[in-house]
């Protein structure tokens, strides 16, 4: 049975996810995941999330998928001990060094290579498997044909079915911190790298700005150039993905409102159950109508969030440290 993996940016979202049929959920420990801190969790909240989820048979993964500094590796491993002790079922990582260190320190812990690891080909998967990864998230740009070859490799495959597709390959972009990077530490010394999605989680989405295209300094060629960044809903592909035997279907959206995430989880739960109960009689059309309503609310929330980020990206950097 395919696993439905959903986001949880706070305790209310954990409850909504559990009540609406998630098999697993992922949470971001504060300072360590690819989202801004408002959508991450304290250790106490993470512990409570595990309690709520496990009580309903739902698994919890900790998304520790930013790249830490080298000096943060030792504190990260100490933190990991806490999260493992609290009962997390797995961890989502991006950094090769962190993966190797975590695998060495916690050999029984399931390691999933994040979308931020940008795994694009079968040799990539073999590399990550060799350093201790048990499941990989497929990049959003891969085709079904490319995903099919993954079946030949003994590794769990996770596919994003509800997300946003960046212009660039995810994990291979530092446009945002090029324009604005704000450094700041918490009481433990963790650096937040605000503005760097790879290092701190927050992305100002500068690619979505209305750019003009110039040849050299004088020749203006085009206005409002768009670097494609589309909503990414794999509705049509969900049946073939289930048939293909992918292990996990994943949603993004820790930053959305709790009720929206609850509706999204319910939608995909119902769809997966309907298809697996009767693959031959399954009709996608009514699901497309239902998804359109969810998408309208989701697009509205995202657009507002993007405008806020544009404004924030233009603010002067408050602190600077090295």
């Amino acid at each position: 049975m395919v696993e439905l993996l959903v986001p949880a940016g706070n305790i209310q979202m954990v409850q909504a996810a559990v009540e609406n049929g998630a098999n697993s959920l992922y949470v971001g420990p504060r300072g360590w995941s690819r989202r801004r801190d408002a959508y991450e969790m304290s250790d106490e909240a993470l512990r409570e999330s595990v309690r709520i989820a496990h009580a309903r048979g739902v698994k919890v993964r900790a998304a520790v998928n930013t790249h830490p500094t080298s000096s943060e590796l030792a504190p990260l491993l100490r933190q990991m001990e806490v999260w493992v002790g609290d009962g997390i079922d797995g961890v989502i990582l991006s950094d090769v060094g962190v993966m190797a260190a975590v695998h060495q320190a916690f050999p029984a812990l399931s390691i999933h290579a994040s979308i931020g690891a940008n795994i694009l080909n079968d040799e990539d998967i073999l590399f990550y498997r060799e350093i201790g990864v048990s499941q990989v998230v497929a990049d959003t740009k891969l085709s079904l044909k490319e995903l099919r070859s993954r079946r030949e490799i003994e590794v769990g495959v996770e596919v994003l079915i509800h997300a946003n597709k960046c212009y660039t390959y995810l994990g291979k972009c530092w446009m945002s911190p090029y324009h604005r990077l704000e450094r700041g530490h918490d009481e433990t010394g963790k650096d937040f790298f605000k503005g760097s999605p790879n290092r701190g989680g927050l992305d100002y989405r500068v690619c979505l700005e209305a750019w003009s295209l110039w040849r050299g300094n004088q020749d203006r060629w085009a206005d409002r150039v768009s670097l494609k960044n589309d909503a990414f809903f794999l509705l049509d592909d969900i049946p073939p993905l289930i048939d293909m035997g992918v292990h996990t279907l994943k949603m993004q959206g820790r930053e959305y409102a709790v009720d929206l995430v609850g509706r999204m989880v319910k939608f995909y739960r119902d769809l997966i159950d309907a298809y697996t109960a009767d693959p031959r009689g399954f009709d996608l059309d009514p699901w497309k109508t239902r998804l359109a309503q969810i998408q309208a609310q989701r697009d509205l929330e995202r657009a507002k969030g993007t405008l806020d980020l544009f404004n924030e990206a233009r603010q002067p950097v408050r602190t600077c440290c090295t």
């Binding site: 090769v96 450094r183 060629w221």
Partner: protein, 341 residues
């Protein structure tokens, strides 16, 4: 020339650019365009050209490296394998891999070929670099987001050679999609000419350079006035990123850095007006330091704020050069020197 004391290198995408380029200021050349398979006559696709190109660089007294695709899908891999095969036959000095699948391919299928890890491989931690060292990598370009302090720590803790960008447009991202193709009809120009038009994305004061699937910094990273610090810290492998530049840029900028690095190593470094004039000639948007000083990548920290260099007449002063002197070389530096020579 102190050819054995440091390495100055650059990237060249195809035979046309190679033949038009003066390689004299360089010690090594990376051949191949890592952004796009459709880049005009990319060495990674034109393997007869690759053979000739490797020999040409050798005859010019340069080491030769093959640069591979930064974001290779499954269907890229057979061509990458063929290109590495040709490069290996020609005795290439190393292959640059930005993708960990390519690293694995090199280790398993071409174990004799030294591996350089490229800037898109996302090496952010010492431990990550060490893992890649275990896979046979001998040189690492850390992710561009790392500060100099972090990079120095990585070099010391891993013992790997570390290469850094000292001048040119810093890669900021790579896509599978070339948005320039949407404008072929409007502009009456097609691929593969479009991405070679010196195109900049601008939004107010912000600017990035587009090379189609690749996005580069609008401002040129410039570490000229910081070279004494870089040398004292032990760095010896320096890249002038000229992949999207014309042969004059490639020649002039490297000549400035070659001269400056030799002066640093001779203990006689002093910033010269002529150097800044050359740099200014080739600077379209401005200068920056990337992330080397732990700040937003587009900022310039130096003796003079010259972020608008190229758009205004502002020029860095020479004060820092007069103040700088080469610090004693550390043991790690000496070890690196031994390996190079």
């Amino acid at each position: 020339m102190n050819r054995e004391l440091f390495e100055l290198n650059t990237t060249i995408s195809n035979m046309k650019d190679l033949m038009a380029s003066d390689l004299d200021p360089y010690d090594a050349i990376y051949l191949g365009n890592p952004f796009c398979r459709d880049y005009e006559a990319n060495f990674l696709e034109e393997l007869d050209d690759l053979r000739v190109g490797i020999r040409h660089c050798r005859e010019a007294g340069c080491k030769v490296y093959l640069s591979t695709y930064a974001a290779p899908r499954n269907y890229f891999m057979p061509q990458i394998r063929r290109a590495i095969g040709v490069a290996a036959e020609e005795g290439v000095d190393a292959v640059e891999a930005h993708n960990l699948g390519v690293v694995r391919m090199l280790r398993t299928e071409f174990p004799a070929v030294p591996i350089h890890i490229g800037g898109f491989a996302n090496v952010y931690t010492d431990t990550g670099a060490a893992v890649l060292g275990d896979y046979g990598s001998v040189r690492v370009t850390p992710n561009y987001e790392l500060s100099l302090e972090e990079i120095e720590g990585m070099a010391k803790s891993t013992g790997l050679h570390v290469e850094i960008l000292v001048h040119g447009k810093m890669p900021l991202g790579i896509s599978d999609y070339c948005f320039l193709l949407e404008y072929e009809k409007d502009w009456g120009m097609k691929c593969p000419d479009l991405c070679q038009q010196d195109l900049f994305l601008r939004q107010g004061e912000w600017a990035m350079k587009s090379v189609g699937k690749g996005v580069l910094s609008g401002r040129d990273v410039c570490m000229l006035e910081h070279l004494p610090h870089l040398v004292a810290a032990g760095f010896r492998f320096f890249r002038v990123e000229s992949i999207s530049e014309d042969p004059a840029y490639r020649r002039d900028v490297a000549a400035v850095y070659r001269e400056a690095l030799e002066e640093v190593l001779n203990g006689a470094f002093q910033l010269r007006e002529g150097w800044w004039e050359k740099i200014q000639t080739h600077t379209k948007v401005g200068l920056c330091n990337g992330f080397y000083f732990g700040q937003s990548g587009q900022l310039y920290i130096g003796n003079q704020q010259s972020a608008g260099f190229g758009e205004t007449s502002a020029r860095p002063s020479t004060e820092l050069g007069r103040m700088s002197s080469v610090e004693p070389l550390s043991r790690a530096v000496n070890n690196q020197l031994r390996v190079i020579s």
